[in-house]
Amino acid sequence: MNTPLSHIRNFSIVAHIDHGKSTLADRLIQLCGGLDAREMEGKEQVLDNMDIEKERGITIKAQTVRLAYTAKNGETYTLNLIDTPGHVDFAYEVSRSLRACEGSLLVVDASQGVEAQTLANVYQAIDANHEIVVVLNKVDLPAAEPERIKEQVEEVIGIDASQAVMISAKTGLGVPDVLEAIVQQLPPPREGDATKPLKAMLVDSWYDAYLGVIVLVRVIDGVLKKGQTIRMMGTGAKYPVERTGFFTPKMIQADQIGPGEFGFITASIKEVADTRVGDTITEDKRPTEAALAGFKPAQPVVFCGLFPVDAADFEDLRSAMGKLRLNDASFSFEMETSAALGFGFRCGFLGLLHLEIIQERLEREFNLDLIATAPSVVYRLVMADGGVQELHNPADMPDVMKIAAIEEPWIRATILTPDDYLGGILKLCQDRRGIQADLSYVGKRAMLVYDLPLNEVVFDFYDRLKSISKGYASFDYHLTDYREGDLVKMSILVNDEPVDALSMLVHRTAAEKRGRVLCEKLKDLIPQHMFKIPIQAAIGGRIIARETISALRKDVTAKCYGGDVTRKRKLLEKQKEGKKRMRQFGKVEIPQEAFIQALKMGDS
């Protein structure tokens, strides 16, 4: 039987990294008997499945856990905890997951207070019409200031914190109160009629080696059952449902999923790419009239080239990317050839963190050595003939004479920082062409809101911010719009030959400085040759920076007789082997390491 709507609570947890979201989730699962102590043991965090999720303390894929909770009033409730990705790169997934539930726990560290990321996520929850239960965590720590943090929550976020639950997720203190607050303060699903045609939201999906694609759904109306033929309203694809069930977090099969409930289905879906987060699932023979509003496929925002260090790994890289894409349809790739780096792929990502995660997974899980080119945003080229083109790769930039204007994506960034670092951060934002939208104070911390071009942010902004603020500033952003910019393509010429992997679009005012830094770097990274090598940065035909690598003057073995020949030959063979790992530009050999280092640009 389905649980009556009045006894269902669907909620997510909003928190900044390290503020205790996963620990609290574990406690809730334990208290409701989802896993016993033995099963919990040895698992750092139950919900974070991937190594990277555990290490970085972030959630990439949404998960749900169904909890059976007997409240103080004696009634048993079904609580569905939806663990959402915490990072802005996955903002769309987050917004869909949030729309699938009715309330949120806002977990705030009782000594650290509200962070930029908390803000962004809690506003999303408010946008999704959530009721919010404020949970102050780590109240047992000596540095905890729960009263001050409560005030901060009210002041900054503008929600009532008078009923905030004080807990220590670590020790378990106060956690039963959280369960009670969920039942008392959060609303049940607002609608849901088991007799109506099936209407369910596709919340997330992932690939399982044994079961194929597993789809996480929230049923709105109707009942989802084994044997039904379902239809994805966005794609039109039909599938027979093979299994239905839910997670406790163990995977439990059940005959059906009723209105208001979360659950999973498997339906011989081959690829995650066939499922789109936010899509509406209905029954093929008795479809719902209207799909859920607001469905849109995820759009890549940041692009970069990924190349195998060893050209022989190209096919392995292709297959690894294919495997990752099975589980992450928002990651895209297509083959690319670079004179500098050989064969590789142009890849699209939802953001910088997404890029980092994919790169790290490729290297770690598939044991590949990769070179990543400088990340680039998606530019919009307004052509002289009135057409509009997207530019994913600076190397593909058409003739400037044909371009009327270049538009670049802008973001709105929220930065929270202790007052001490404000000056440095303001300067950083100004240097990166930022436009200040707001500056206010949240207790002792400054809250800065800046509009910034994304291309200035992909360029090591986050690292700079961290170093300026000694790690104390927190940062979050969302895309806002495209604006025209005075952008130019800067090329790097080594011995008069352009090096495609190093060309980039930069703002005209920053070009000279960035060109100079890059030339200086390359001067140190490219080994001396038997002739001198000019290194130039150029915009069109105009040279804006120049360095010269002087010619090698001395490189000869002084003493070489009969006995040495074998050793000398082996050295020569090694040298020849080493040359294979270099890229030839005209007469110049550039070690791959030079590209890796040059692209890992410091600030400029």
């Binding site: 003057r553 073995t557 020949v565 020849k576 007469k587």
Partner: protein, 386 residues
């Protein structure tokens, strides 16, 4: 004395692996023994090794013999005589071929010079290394300048041919100081000089000291200046470079070393010695056990101290030919390289290197490194060998 006919030749190398003391820069196969070495036993082992080697090379006419080390001037003249007799017993040794012995210029060793001459040695190569006492001490040498000059005088009197070695590009050595020292050396020189830049070899005491920054050697620019100066001064004095570090009055080049650089055949006899010669139809490498007493035991038990060897592929031969041949001012025979490598040099690469003034053709058949090319020869060879 026999003239060089330009052929690669067939040389016999004999390695005497002992030194009175180990020099801190040296990574050669040399060992210090505090008990007297049983020279008769070693001589007998050299004889056995040679007899075995003769089986492999077949009858050949020897173009040069070289006694190197270690310190062969620690050998008794009788031992040298015995070894040279063994060479003659196994291969044809025409009268007047070059027979070199490496010697240290200490008074003890100079006392044996007449004995070596009587045994058949007609050329000595003296390890003078420096003409100032401070640097001689730094280099760990056991002689001083006075002793070295006495040894040079004596050697000139006794031997028809004489060469000596100097090590330059020493720590803090200025162009002026080196030029003065070099001119002085040329004044003492007969018809041949070996002038090596100091290099820091792994596993030597200098390697550790240099890494610990106890001293510094000239940077590449200064080293290049010193090298250029050396080329100019020696050429003016009539001792032009015929190899990267070797200078001679034309016609007085070391026949034996030319065999190495012309990529000829040579047998290597003694601990750690390498040989390269044609056996059957294949060019092979022989490598002997390095440790002297182990080598001795191996020869006595098995009749040979050769512990490893390989057959070179023609590709490897091509690489070796290039490595060795381009060290010579006479360069390489392009034909011979092409036949071994089974390909020619890339024309575009070659013409670029010519434009850069690093290589030049001699007539239609030979290619050589220019003086500028010579000072970056390792990079040049790596480029051409691709």
């Amino acid at each position: 004395m026999r003239r060089d006919d330009g052929s690669p030749g067939f040389g016999v190398y004999i390695h005497w692996p002992f030194c009175a003391a180990k020099c801190p820069y040296c990574d050669f196969n040399s060992h210090v023994r505090h008990q007297p070495v049983d020279q008769e036993r070693f001589a007998e082992a050299f004889r056995r090794e040679m007899a075995g080697m003769r089986e492999r090379t077949g009858p050949r006419e020897v173009t040069s013999i070289f006694l190197g080390g270690g310190t062969p001037s620690l050998m008794k003249p009788e031992t040298v005589g015995a070894v040279l007799d063994a060479v003659a017993a196994n291969w044809t040794v025409p009268d007047g071929i070059e027979i070199t012995l490496e010697a240290n210029p200490t008074s003890v060793e100079a006392n044996r010079f007449r004995g070596y001459r009587a045994a058949g040695v007609n050329r000595v190569s003296l390890g003078v290394q420096a003409l100032n006492d401070i640097d001689l001490r730094f280099l760990g040498r056991m002689h001083n300048v006075t002793e070295a000059l006495t040894a040079i005088d004596l050697a000139r009197e006794i031997f028809p041919r004489l060469s000596f070695d100097l090590i330059y590009a020493r720590p803090l050595q200025t162009l002026e100081a080196w030029e003065a020292e070099l001119r002085q050396a040329i004044g003492y020189a007969a018809d041949h000089l070996s002038l090596y830049q100091l290099t820091i070899e792994e596993g030597t005491p200098f390697y550790a000291l240099h890494r610990a920054k106890k001293f510094a050697i000239p940077d590449p620019d200064h080293a290049a200046d010193l090298y250029e100066l050396t080329q100019t001064v020696t050429a003016q004095a009539g001792l032009p470079a015929y190899e990267v570090s070797n200078h001679a009055v034309p016609g007085a080049e070391s026949r034996h070393n030319l065999t190495y650089w012309r990529y000829g055949d040579y047998v290597g006899i003694g601990p750690g010695a390498h040989g390269r010669f044609v056996e059957g139809r294949q060019r092979i490498v022989t490598i002997a056990e390095r440790h002297p007493e182990n080598w001795l035991a191996a020869v006595e038990q098995n009749g040979t101290g050769i512990t490893s060897g390989e057959q070179l592929t023609s590709w490897e031969e091509a690489d070796e030919l290039l490595l060795m041949g381009l060290r010579l001012r006479e360069g390489i025979e392009v034909h011979r390289y092409e036949a071994l490598a089974n390909r020619g040099f890339e024309p575009e690469r070659l013409s670029f290197l010519q434009q850069q003034g690093l290589v030049e053709s001699i007539g239609n058949s030979r290619l050589r490194a220019t003086q500028a090319g010579m000072s970056v020869l390792d990079a040049l060879v790596a480029d051409l060998a691709q």
